[in-house]
Structures are given as C-alpha cells and as structure tokens.
Symmetry: C2
C-alpha cells in the first residue's frame, strides 16, 4: 500500500467535496464497527457516495493512488469487518437508500445497499410480501452490510440466511469497473455463481451497490411456545426430538442458565431459579396448533417444567422478551465479547456444557444464547475491559470456545463473518489448499489488495 | 494446449493400466454427452479413477503434460458440457460410487460423485430422509454431474435446485492439489463461498470427488391435480393466481398444445383435442386437501375445462403420465433440440406465445413443457437431422427462443448449464465486465486451461 500523504491529498482533491470528508470527528467515528479485541486505526477520510457512479469514482482514484478502501454499512458488525487500517479511506454506503423497484408479480425487490433492513422488511410487508432475514441488529443494520456478511437471524432455521434471498448484484470492482451478476429468475445456471461468491465476502472482493432480492408471500401469524428445563440435557434432547420428528419451526432459540439468570435479575420475570435452559419456539405453518401440541409433547417428554403457549401476538411478544433481553441483560454484568460459533445441531448441548467448564476454569461469567434450531450459538464472555488479566482471560475463554466448536465439527462463524476478529481462526478451520484458493480468488478480483485488505484473509499492504 | 502424441503417450504410461484406456470403442463412446449441435472430437484416452488420490494422479500428469481433461458423470447432459475437444482425455467418475456416510441426526449424507441420483434418493429415503432434486435423468445421471451442472427438476418450485443442498465438497484442482470447501453445519460464513462457486461450474474450475449434502425429513404423500385449459392465457393466469395467493406447490408443470397433442397421439389418453395447455400440480403440505381446493378454484376461475384431483398415489402416477411422456412423445415426431430457458414467472405465457409464432415462421413443430412454477421451460424443436435446411431452421428457432427469453428478462439456461451449446449465448446474457470476471476466476483456478476448456467460457488452448 502506498501511504504517503501526497497520494491521499491527491485522492481527496480529485473527488467532489460533497462526498468526501476529512473532518477529524467524523473520521474518528468511522474507525471501527461494534467488535471487541480487533485492530483499528484512524482512517484518513470518509467517502459518502450517493450513486453507483460516485462509488466507482471513489474506488478508481483510491485504486490509482494505492489507498486501501474499507466499505461500510451501518458499522453494526461484530467481527471488525469494517475496521480500518491506517492510511485507508472508509467508503460508507449510508446515502444509497433508494428502493429502486418492487415487482409484486414476481416477488422481487431491487434496493440500494444503504437501506435499513427493518425498513426493507416493512416496505415489502405493505405489499403483502416477506423478507425473512432478521439479524439482531435489524433495526439499524443495512441490507448491504447483511449481504456483505451473509447475515442470519432467528428466521434461519426455517427460511435460511441473507444469501438465500439474493438473486442479483451490481458491484464496483477494485479498479472501478461496474459489474452485474446474477439474474431475475428463480432458477438460472448461466456461468459461475459469482453472486454467491460475493455474498459474505465482507467487502474484500467488490463493493455492492445494488441488490436484487427474492421475497416470499407474507407468513401466517406464528404461534409461540416457551419451555423451561431444569437440565441442559433435557433441552438438548427436546430440540433433537422436535427436529427428528421432521418439524421445522420458524424460530427455535435457546438461553442457557447464565443468560436466563441475567435476564431474570434484570426483568424480575421469575424464570430464573431452577432453569438450566429455556427454549423459545415459534411455528408459522397452517397447522401450527397441531404442531405446537407435538412440540409441547416433545418438551414434556424430555423433562420441561413450565410450558407456556400462545397464539396471541401481544402475548407472544412478551414470551419472546427473555430472548430479546438476553444481550442487554448480560451487558449489565460487565464488558462483553460475543462469539458466533455454529455446530451440527446434535452437538449444541455438548458445546454449552463445554462452555460451562470454560467459564469455571477461567472464572468468568459466560452466557450462551442463540439459534438452537440451526446450531448457531452466541456464547458471550463477560469481563472487565479495564483489567488486563480479565481481558486476557476473556480472550482465552473466547479462543477455547471457538476451538471447541471446531472440535465438535462446527465452524468459527455461523453468521457474523470472519472480519478481523477471526482472520487467524480461518486458517484453523480451512485446510491450507483452501486458503491458497481464497488467496487466488482475492487476487483475481483485487490484485493490489485495495479492498478491505485486513478482513478475512488479513492481507497486509 | 500441447497436443503432441509423445506427451499423451507419456501421460498414459505414467498412470496405472487399470484406470486408463485407449480402446477405440471405449474412447468413442466417451466423446460427447446427449447434446445436439455441439462440437465434439475423439478423446485420446479415458481415465476411470477409483479414488480421490487416483483422480489427483490423473490430473497431475495431465497438467504436467498440458493435456486437457474433460470430467464426466453419466454423460446425460444436454449442453455439451462433457463433450471432448481433440487430444483431450476424459476423466469419468463412474467408479466412485460409495456412499461414505449417513448422519441421520444432522440429516447429512456424504457421497462420491458417481452415485446415481435415484439411488441416492432411495438410499436416504430408507432412513426416512429426502433428497429433493429430481432432474429428468434422475434414474441414470450422477450426483457429481448434478453438482457440476447445478441440476434442477420438478421439485424446484418448492425445494430448490441441487446447489441448495450442497454443504461441502472435496475437489481436485487443476494442478492435482486436493481441496475441501464448505462445512457440515447448516449455517456458516467462514471465508468465501467456494462451494457455491464450484457448484454449476461444469468441471471448468475443479473436479468434484466428494459431496456432502443436507437432507430433509421425508415429505408427505402429495396430492395431485391436473387441469386442462382451452386457452394458453387461461393457464398462465391460473399459474399467476396460484402463486399470487401465496401457495407453494411441490410441483407445477405445464404442457403446451403441441406437447399435449403429441402425448395424446402416442398414448390415446384423450386429452388432446381442445387443450391449449395442461397444468400438472402437486402439493405435499399437511393442508394439501384445502390447498388443492384453492388451486382448483383458481383453475376454474381462469377457464379450466376438465380438472382431475387425486390423493391416491397410483392414480397420481397415472395423472402425471402425460408429463413423463412429453419428451418421448415429441421424440416420435423426429429429431429434437431441447432448450432450457427460464423467464420471470409472470412471463411464461408470453414466452410460449412467442414460441408458437416462431414455430409458424420456421414451419417446425415446437413443443413446450416444463416447470411453470419457476419459469423454467423446455421448448423442444422437432427437425430432421438428415436435412440441412431443417437443421438450419431448427438452430434458427432455437436461437430465436433463447433470444426471446433474454428479452423477457430471463436467462439462457435454467438448469442444464451452458456447456458448449450456449458458450456463445453466455456473452449475450452477461455484461462484458462479468465475462472478464469469469475469465479471471477461471485463470485463478486453472491458469493453463487444462480443465474442460471448451465449456462455459469456450477457451481454446
């Protein structure tokens, strides 16, 4: 990377003043996403293009001057994918917020990357359509960031992840060329699946400027069941029984003992004392009442204590409150470091049990919550940022959890992405030849490593 | 490509005799797949490796000697993806037929590429599990070929295509290195989605030696409805009404007037005279009887004549006979050239109407059948191979149909792949920058263009 200030000055001078700023306060606020324990430095400028052509202009001049570019959605990521190295410019897509087209006949919506995911969901729901992905940050994250990280959420057990809804992309390549990938039909095999390759590539291969998404018909109002278990094993067996019976809930979440206690301490819901695990389950099929009865039976057979079922939307919202308050409740206990591992569904209780041991060994509080239906859990390590020993212990616990997920046949990231946080871990999960192929693909798209060079493969200029 | 016979002799000598043959009869039978109007030449040898290591050995020596390799499943493709250029060796994976693992807990099966797709479906169904993809060639195609072409079938409207079920791959790269991509969890964002990139790449990026597939719980016995329409427009409106009502059938097929007549002439089913279009619909949801009643209502509202509904499996098989006999019935009329276009679902009747015009203009019989539910149609041009003028007319009709699909916002291939048949068309569908990215990706995987160089991008040595 060329990092001399002349190059950067020339870069800034060659772009319209309306779309680039070096204001120190603005620049400082764009240095990092919401991740912990990740490298970041002050960027030299923030570009805020309004159109695809302006994105291309920014990328062209950065490429010409050898300046790294970090594309950014809302900065809500948890893996450092939007952290900046020194001498880089941030390219924020927050001004590109148009919904360009809604084709209700073919259930397709075409949007710019800066649209907030919740706003997209609301927009299409007014036309009786449904965009399922619902990451925890749905109210403030952007669809562009969701595509770049292949974001998930609670819907995935039934509906899949962001990538499952992407039909086509418009992107700006590392040298400023504009490319369109994909198609508007639900099937299509014309050439390589570059769309899927770009989804989840965290801004290291191209910058997404337009997204064509497929939508579903509006779902039915779900029915909700919450079951508490006095043993972790019982909850795990209930999850396996539900899945083994061929039931596909539209939500299947778990909270472990530590998380339940933290929520109970905060909310005084009265769910804490004997609860080793809480399952929160929804079903939005036409036969939900019968399926809920079956689910209830599976929970009871595996030792569930209290079970509450509701078909009333308001009551359902209250039942889900424990899940929604999981992270806020854990946050009250100290600083937090959130993991995002995913294991084969049959191993989730093995993972939670191992995490209980890790918590004992390190003396830290670790709450676990997440998507039991697809094996994607978010162990959350509580520590004290101001205490070096606590920081070390937190990082040790985090690493042991991630290692355990790999040992159980899992992956280092279910939905948050690799970013900078797990670039080292990527080399433990993937075999060396796979890393070589990654590097070859990166080089094919971005030979001078201008695009987000620190993320995923951790390329240094 | 180096093509001197010394290199090829050295290549053959360096492999075990049990896995390579130059027997002229064998070699001749491996020159092409089932496609028409596609280039092919005699390969110099056929390699028949039994293990991943033997595949790697074949690829290493071919790479070292600069000899092109064409990987091949059952040779049932319709786009020339397995046709061979001159001086190439065919690498047939038909000996790699092991089912390596079935994990019923996590609904995963791990197979070698030579397993026949129907055998895979039967194998997992005995464990109460379901592998949906059902290409027309399901009884003789291989899962490896299905992955290489991202094959579809009648299930796609509800269940998706082959790629939607692939979790992980083991592949041999162009220089003989072995790589593993993907994971065993249902979610995962560790690095680039190389698995999706390799699915549908038609043997041009790597050779697939092991496939990890996700499975579903066994589906319910479907209910079946067949409706005949005296106007094409009515059938199209019924399809849109069904989709617009948020109904997702497990099958939604259409036969046009020409195909219905051909089937009726052959089978004497008595469905032909007034029928402009036939819809064949299945639903395998728990509420199938109610949904079928809704579907019947939509068909009636849009002018359906006779409607037959059945929940009896044997009767359902009889009802589907017209669909199954579509290609055999058209085959009786002459030689055939099958297209595989896909348009947005709202445009299928526009496409069928345009094809009727093209048939009139060219004086050829063109039957249309296919997957109305996802817009993927198979217009089938009937011609006389022995007549040069008829051949020219067939190719002209084929090209006009493909062009029309693009004009309607569609794609040149819904499920058969580009192969050699549509390598020229790929450059009409994709923008020039997209083609440049394709070439860069191909170069990243296979810099000397050893792997199936004539397919997809039509690279000449």
């Amino acid at each position: 990377m060329i990092t001399d200030s002349t190059a950067i000055d020339r870069l800034i001078d060659s772009l319209p003043a309306q779309i680039i700023t070096t204001d120190p306060d603005v620049v400082a606020s764009y240095a990092a996403d919401q991740s912990q324990f990740t490298d970041r430095a002050l960027p030299v400028a923030v570009a805020m293009p309004r159109t695809t052509e302006e994105v291309a202009a920014c990328v062209r001049v950065a490429h010409a001057h050898g300046v790294a570019i970090v594309p950014r959605g809302a900065g809500s990521g948890l893996s450092g994918g939007a952290n900046t190295p020194a001498d880089a410019i941030v390219l924020s897509l927050h001004r590109m917020t148009a919904i360009r087209e809604l084709d209700t006949d073919n259930r397709i919506v075409v949007v710019e990357p800066g649209v907030i995911t919740a706003e997209l969901r609301n927009y299409v729901s007014k036309a009786g359509l449904y965009y399922p992905p619902d990451p925890g940050s749905v109210d403030f994250c952007t669809i562009g960031g969701n595509v770049a990280t292949n974001a998930g959420g609670m819907c995935c057990v039934k509906y899949g992840v962001t990538g499952d809804f992407i039909l086509a992309l418009e992107c700006v390549l590392a040298d400023g060329r504009i490319v369109r990938t994909g198609r508007r039909t639900v099937k299509g095999n014309a050439g390589y699946d570059l769309t899927s390759l770009l989804v989840g590539s965290e801004g290291t291969l191209a910058i997404i400027t337009e997204i064509t998404l497929r939508l579903l018909p509006a779902p039915r109002q779900p029915q909700t069941l919450v079951a508490s278990f006095s043993t972790l094993d019982g909850a795990g067996k209930a999850v396996r029984a539900i899945s083994g019976a061929g039931i596909t809930p539209s939500m299947l979440e778990i909270l472990d003992r530590t998380t339940v206690k933290a929520v109970d301490d905060m909310t005084k819901m009265g769910i804490g004392d004997d609860t080793a695990a809480l399952l929160l389950i929804q079903h939005d099929g036409v036969d939900a009442p019968n399926v809920l009865a079956d689910i209830e039976q599976h929970c009871t057979s595996h030792g569930a204590g209290e079970i509450v079922v509701s078909s009333d939307p308001t009551e359902a919202e209250m039942l889900l409150e424990a899940r929604r308050q999981a992270l806020p409740a854990l946050e009250r206990l100290g600083d937090w470091l959130l993991d995002d591992v995913c294991v084969p569904c049959s191993r989730i209780t093995d993972l939670i049990a191992a995490i209980e041991q890790i918590a004992q060994q390190t003396g830290l509080t670790i709450g676990v919550f997440g998507h039991a239906g697809d094996g994607n859990l978010h162990p959350t390590v509580i520590y004290d940022k101001t205490d070096a020993a606590s920081r070390d212990a937190a990082l040790e616990a985090f690493n042991e959890i991630t290692q355990k997920a790999l040992e159980l046949g899992g992956t280092i990231t279910g939905e948050h992405g690799v970013g900078r946080l797990k670039a080292g871990w990527l080399r433990k999960e993937l075999d060396p030849v796979n890393i070589e192929v990654h590097q070859a693909v990166k080089h094919a798209f971005d030979p001078t490593a201008v695009l987000n060079p620190g993320a995923v493969l951790h390329i240094h200029g």
